[in-house]
Subunit: 194 residues, 2 copies
């Protein structure tokens, strides 16, 4: 059996399995953010995508922003975060897409100003979780609308059993997840990583 | 006339004055994030609050998260971000408050899990903007509910003419803003900093 990596160990230590498909990691990833730890994950993303000419990171509010910024600080590139609602001072010229959120049980109309995505961009998409893949597919759609290039997708925790990651890989997307959960059990606390 | 500081220079170079009270800085602060630059602001926040025993940074989603994480990475502390809506896997035990958003013209019900704020916490509140001060007042309310201590409030851009910052200072809050705008004019592009 392979040794667990940095994030897998953290999940075993601090994650809480709520049910067969809900893993809570809000003590370090998406409510409280263990910044020194997530910064280490950022370094790993930098290494994983070092062969790609990335000039910008794209993520989606809110829980992707922390890991995106803590990756960008090592890569020395800007972050753009897609917004789920347009405030009164949002630009009128936006790329937009629809992303279904199962956690919040609604469809978000997601936008990025056309100023901050363009045809010359080589984008790394970063997010905290990947389950069914709707958020990443929406972000890819935004890059496609701008004529940019998706160089890769970096995910902290992929729920492998929900299939979204494998669907993206089947499309040829350069997806790398730091921890892929094949199955987990709330009663025993057991997690099987791919 | 005093020389402009790092953020004031950036505002003059890249900010866009839309009207007498709307300044757009979404090219570097709150939509696209110029991570290497904002990381420099994070170092300045670390120095400004170096005399305080801070163990955690509190901010609010979404646009506060980037600057909070890029400050925390220098201070080696975690970030907690208050959430504007509770997903299906949010804890039931939360501190909550109401925060009026003028940008989005609505009142947000804002929550933090009781797990991640407590009586022993010495909190630095960080946010990108301060105008009327509603967001910071709400975050202070959350820390008070937990019995924690607000050691300071660090703001990137304060709209001095809206009075929220001065009201907090009058209450004895240790508020430090990197750029305070006294007035600005959309036609001439002129900005007067305090």
């Amino acid at each position: 059996m392979a040794e667990l990596n940095l994030l897998q160990k953290k999940i075993m230590a601090d994650g809480r399995i709520i049910s067969g498909d809900i893993l809570k990691v809000d003590s370090f990833l998406n409510h409280q953010i263990d910044v020194p730890f997530i910064s280490e994950l950022g370094k790993i993303f930098k290494e994983l995508f070092a062969d790609r000419p990335i000039n910008k990171i794209l993520t989606i509010e809110a829980s992707g922003i922390g890991v995106a910024c803590l990756t960008a600080v090592h890569m020395r590139v800007p972050v753009v975060f897609a917004k789920k609602s347009a405030g009164s001072n949002m630009d009128a010229e936006v790329y937009s897409t629809e992303i279904k959120s199962f956690t919040h049980n609604k469809v978000n109309h997601v936008v990025v100003s056309q100023k901050y995505l363009n045809g010359g961009d080589h984008i790394l998409i970063i997010d905290d979780f990947l389950a069914n893949g709707c958020a990443v597919q929406g972000l890819i759609d935004l890059v496609d609308q701008a004529g940019g290039t998706v160089e890769g997708v970096g995910i902290c925790i992929e729920k492998g059993f929900q299939g979204g990651g494998d669907a993206l890989r089947a499309r040829g997307i350069n997806l790398k997840s730091l921890a892929i959960i094949e199955k987990m059990d709330a009663k025993s606390g057991k997690i099987v990583f791919r």
